[in-house]
Point group: D2
């Protein structure tokens, strides 16, 4: 089940960075749901990244072609398949140095796993490009969640040492970031982050960061104990996004060092509803949503491709070597990773919602 | 698939805190493998916890009865089923206050999910007791991993503010903790942690912490891209352990704020082998093991059961109320959580190893 | 997933013929459903077979012990686990001849598959005894189907050359067979079948037969295209019952040799409902129920254990040999197979009904 | 998991009869396997049917476009995706009569299941056209099986009352049918079948039939007990082919009415190998291959589309009506169904072989 996830909704991803195409099949969507492809495109554009000093400019339009699953703009019960073309594939960039394992990439592990038969160009199936079909699936599920009054918000919490303040766990700032805008809560922090990334780009280096996601409007009772709980399913898919090294829910690592009396979430009545006064649980108790916002944070490592020369190994020659990576690479993928995490959240939660 | 996980090895957990029994079925184990039940018992005893001021003393022996799957002490290709009896179930402890939702427990979410039909006594299927069958499965898989030269080490990294130093990611301290010993690298830190937990216990409060796990001896190539990678599968099962709020691999959250040039893992030849000079990747690149130690950390929240009075809701009366929790509860579950995480690691990695 | 099936409901079977016990875990049952264990027992008694010349008399009571999943007689959302003890295991019957492969048994294939580590006594996990936990799961699901107005009927269609007439596909004879009664539509045919089986028993031989199942009351729309359709899911589980060699739906093999104009099922209005005038489709079109009775037939081969001497191979000696099987064996398993097929039908259809 | 099957190999089908395209994703193929696309095309051409009086002439070339999964003609570890275009879609044929439910088609069941949102044109996802991606997957797996010395043979056993003789179960006639040739063992029977189908076509009627498949060269030990055995997995996928109403293995229904002494398969040594003297088991014992040819038969109902006027229901008007189906339709799909069953066999057996 390598490239697949989901229970009620099955998402099957396919493609390589430089294959003829890539795409996704979404099996199990309910019939009779309108899918607004313009909204989908707008979401995909967020992932594409803008034209600036801190993101690569791959020229593809990244416009999905719908092969099946929609009839007159509505889901029809058949699997929804969307494909994308890989137009801008310059495999030649890679061939000269293909035996030089890029540090902290999947070059070495893929080589061993597939006995040399892996598609090396552009990272093959390990490329960040494979988040494109995930984002398509997320964009579709997000629309279906919105119909139920469920919304997903996100922002960048940190890039290197430049830090934004986290969400108030109870009262989420419901700011939807327009395409092109830098996705932070406070504009001045965004400017610092951009300046920092530009500086890193000039150094030929890269940097990582942390994103924070909040989902509001979820009913109580979403998630299946014990092993298909919200945190299990969410982390499973989120770690399928390249470069993720950590995930935490609610109060996270820091809150876990506190006392129970400090972080227990007292229940209280709000009108006829049971709510919690605080939300250190991040909207999840026993793995099941409790009606409060679901909040989690994801850590992305620095882009492993940097322009600084690195020591590595020549795999054919089985000897140490030096590597100078060429081509364009984002100094920081965090801004473009944000819609990927939102997409993962959308698919996972819609899948669990249907199971409820 | 609520209480089930795994691909080649399927692990099905069952039971409630106060049902007649609980247990596990492990389907897919290769035939002809010796299972040493004494070693299994010794592992389960680590989870049981000792007789001290910071752990509860449930009286069950927690000895598995093997119903199927072994023949003359060897696996025989049939599913391995082990059951445990729940001898020490005092449901009466809970009935008086059952409508008072315990803060940060699964009481409320389970109630809504199961429409009031959930088994409330002792936390039902949400009880930490359900980690017992997981530990059984882990103890079995651990033996099979050891046959392949793969070992799992762990220690407590933090309890509240008392912190141990982390593993050297390249050169793991291979310390196996004897039963009864406090699982830290430096004895003096262990004493501080014990003293802190005893103080917390006297306050009627609780505290959480962080555990760190390292797996050595794994070959390169374990893990299935994109969505059945090591991190996805590991986090999926680890979040099935009650009280987990975060997981991070290798350099984790902190390392993600650094520059690529600081945390990229250079490859180098070590004799005929490719190794990395550092191990910020935590032994995993592109979701697949690279032959270096797999290292990850897991955050456990403070035990939600505390003796201090808490405000909550009377679910029947739909009104605010005060709750005073009775009975014995660990002020800190971290020492007993350690074997649970090891067990999760063992099952996940053995499953992925078989898929290789 | 060897010993497991189901999608929304997961059924995990475990046990061997002579292991300490055997049983089943049913994960995914909705909470709040009453399970009448007396009715379950009554169903299991049908499988046990009576005291007569054509069925073996294994002494176990075959009474399930419920370990988990029920609270006050109701499902509680946790997996339902039932176990049975293997009291009457006489492994010594088998040890002397264990290297003599019994013709048309799984002895040889199991030996190769498990490299000699299979549990040979009593057929191990290949024993017909493993239909006991299936019948438990079926008995539970049958009760939940009956709540929805869905009933399962069955009868023996043939034993050797003695044949009963098939169901009228549109107007099913709703005859529930009392325990002990011979399950045919016409009593005189039953007497002929019993006489035939007794004669076969005296010859030291065995015989097979065909059973027919009908399910009434199913709504239209049950079944998932393309590959989780009713026929696919039903046949998958039915072939998990030992000795099954064929399955056909509706008009079956014979009807498939006719012309479309003869066997197409015309639609017609019956009050406000759409029905079909005939039911050659067996209640299934495009793999989905159409509201008409679902009817299928299953062929069971003769019990491979016969008293007549047979030529075979001594697997240790790798030479031809003669085998004289000892012990008690049914000359015909068809009467006891009937509840097994009903059970399969109940679990499969309840699982698909929940997915609807 | 509607449009998906497989365990080690996951096959995900997508598309509708008249959507932009249809296709398949095959996840889990081992890397480094050569795929000969010309041989694939040649196999697909068998399914396409020739230009004659008994098969429809849809104009598509049915040539797969490979989007991913191959690199330099070899599998590369990434999912293999092949798509086909639907060029010749004349939806207008259907719109006028769309409310008239076609007898024995999926029109009514799809309507109810998808609440009117199903894609009705050309049968939507229920169309026989969806066997095209199955055949692609089968053609690929067949090549990989052939590398292991495993071959699949098939022939038509009956069309209406015109019957071919069955395979000798022990000594399979290894006749590969060239494209265009009528797939029977004896040429004169083929001529009778063609003549019969032409007569049926002239009557405006249709007819069904039976196909027989044999797989040679399988090692002993393929298949997973209890519920992922060869018969369970095979029947699951075979019933996903439209129009299948029955499947039987080895001696099938007829043999099940015989005595054990007549149909038990004696073991005997053949050189160093254990073989069976007869093969009533159809190469499968306990659900696992025993090294003898795997043989099974599949019954296909008559094409439900006939030119004769039929009574049905106007679903909008909820009243009885008459239907006269237009357009071209095969009077008998059996010749084109043969490669579909072979494809199912290839994928199922290759999947089980990889699990071995």
């Amino acid at each position: 089940m390598a490239s697949q996830f989901g229970t009620k909704i099955k998402v099957q991803i396919f493609g390589q960075s430089h294959s003829a195409g890539l795409g996704v099949v979404i099996d199990g969507l309910p019939a009779g749901k309108k899918v607004d492809l313009e909204k989908v495109q707008s979401f995909l554009d967020r992932r594409a990244g803008g034209k600036n000093k801190y993101s690569t400019a791959r020229k593809e339009a990244d416009t999905p072609e719908i092969l099946s699953g929609l009839k007159d703009g509505m889901t029809c019960g058949a699997p929804l398949c969307a494909i994308f073309r890989n137009a801008n594939t310059r495999s030649s960039d890679y061939s000269k140095t293909e035996a030089l394992l890029r540090p902290s990439h999947a070059d070495y592990t893929a080589w061993i796993k597939y006995d040399g038969f892996q598609d090396r160009s552009g990272g093959g199936q390990f490329s960040g490009r494979l988040t494109l079909p995930l984002c398509f699936a997320g964009a579709v599920c997000m629309q279906l969640l919105e119909e139920e009054g469920i919304d997903i918000f996100s922002h960048i919490l940190a890039i290197g040492d430049v830090k934004e303040e986290p969400f108030d766990l109870v009262d989420i700032t419901k700011k939807k970031h327009e395409n092109g805008a830098f996705p932070v809560l406070r504009e001045e922090v965004g400017k610092q982050m951009v300046a920092y990334m530009e500086q890193i780009a000039e150094e030929g280096d890269s940097v990582g960061g942390i994103v924070e996601i909040a989902v509001t409007g979820l009913p109580c009772g979403v998630g299946e104990p014990i092993y298909d709980n919200v945190e299990s399913c969410m982390s499973h898919v989120v770690f399928g996004i390249p470069a993720v090294k950590g995930i935490e829910f609610g109060m996270g690592f820091e809150g876990c060092l506190k006392k129970g009396s400090e972080v227990n979430d007292s229940f209280t009545m709000q009108g006829d509803s049971v709510v919690t006064a605080t939300n250190h649980s991040g909207g999840i108790q026993g793995g099941i949503t409790n009606g409060m916002p679901v909040v989690f944070r994801v850590a992305f490592k620095p882009t492993p491709s940097i322009y600084k020369e690195q020591s590595t190994v020549d795999f054919y020659g089985k000897k140490d070597a030096m590597l100078q990576i060429q081509g364009r690479h984002d100094p920081c993928i965090v801004p473009r990773a944000l819609p990927c995490v939102e997409a993962a959240a959308a698919v996972v939660l819609y899948d669990l919602l249907l199971q409820k």
